[in-house]
């Protein structure tokens, strides 16, 4: 699965996710990526999110919207909300994976509960960074 979230100069957020699904899946299996609110979510009031991992658990956790709701209704920061969904309910359900997220202030979060996640960020006035393992 691949995904991207962005903040533009007008202060607008967007999220996108694309995937080949799961190896050896049965015909017609759909994971979280095309389900708005699960693997992909964007809301200018909160953040943009793209998730990756075991799709069935991301759907059950409604991961993207859950993160946004924690910010909107509980006033949590992007980083705290992202950590809470990945290491909280999602993990408790048995889910493995991660997400990338950005808010309107340019804060970012890239939490994952697997050994690695291919990831990177490139923010204004900062250098481009990429990583694979937990380092």
């Amino acid at each position: 699965t691949v995904g991207a979230v962005a903040l533009d100069q007008s202060g607008n957020l967007a999220a996108a996710t694309s995937t080949g699904g799961m190896t050896n899946s049965r015909h017609g299996r759909i994971g979280d990526s095309p389900l708005v609110g699960a693997g992909t979510y964007a809301n200018n009031q909160t953040c943009a999110v793209s998730a990756t991992g075991h799709g069935e658990f991301i759907i059950r956790a409604v991961l993207g919207h859950d993160l946004s709701a924690l910010m909107q209704y509980c006033g949590m920061s992007l980083r705290d909300a992202a950590e809470k969904v990945i290491f909280g309910r999602f993990k408790e359900l048995g889910g493995t994976g991660g997400l990338v997220a950005i808010d309107r202030q340019g804060n970012i979060a890239l939490p994952f509960n697997t050994p690695g996640m291919y990831r990177g960020h490139y923010l204004q006035a900062q250098k481009l960074e990429t990583a694979i393992y937990r380092e």
Binding site: A6, A14, G20, N24, G28, A48, E56, P115, H121, Q126
Partner: protein, 180 residues
């Protein structure tokens, strides 16, 4: 604080450092860098966040390294079935496609669903028909074939067969094996 920027992922999982060659590792970093740069350039020149995320995803869809587009994994039947979604935070509009088999860049069709239809999600044959009617080129199965993904499927089928034999003998229960 930065006034614009982009963050990407190319999948998460049991990525083992010991199983990764230095060359492959470099290829992944290069692929991520290329996707980030493509998205960042759009943002830097005043483009929209929607354009930036679409472009970054396009780069990764076109790479055989990542499980999307050209590098998509195989289903049990040996086919590629791809899903994609895009959402605009300014309008809360969203578009998605599921189970497409011949679309080079599924995220582009998802965006067209968002912008040109009253719907959110189109699936399978209907999504492909929508793409064809809107002038998108459908790719042959061979475009999505990668040897490494094919070998992953063969290994998964073998593991499944072994599990079924153990399950029949009573040494393993159904709940011990998830099957997508």
């Amino acid at each position: 604080m930065p006034t614009f920027g982009i963050v990407i992922h190319g999948g998460a999982g049991a990525i083992s450092k010991s199983a990764m060659t230095r060359e492959l590792e470099r290829s992944y970093h290069d692929g991520l860098r290329e996707a980030l740069t493509a998205g960042y350039e759009i943002l830097e020149s005043g483009g929209t966040a929607v354009d930036a995320v679409q472009k970054a995803v396009n780069v990764m869809e076109d790479s055989p390294l990542f499980n999307a587009g050209r590098g998509a994994v195989f289903t049990h039947a040996g086919r590629n079935e791809m899903d994609a979604a895009i959402m605009d935070g300014a309008t809360l509009k969203a578009g998605a496609v599921a189970g497409v088999q011949h679309i080079k860049n599924p995220i582009n069709i998802a965006r067209m669903v968002m912008e040109k239809t009253p719907h959110v999600l189109l699936a399978h044959d209907g999504a492909e028909e929508f793409a064809r009617l809107n002038g998108f080129e459908l790719m042959p199965d061979e475009y999505f074939f990668t040897e490494s993904r094919w070998q992953q499927l063969q290994k998964a089928i073998e593991l499944e067969k072994n599990w079924k034999e153990r399950s029949r003998s009573g040494s393993e229960s159904d709940s011990e094996q998830k099957f997508g």
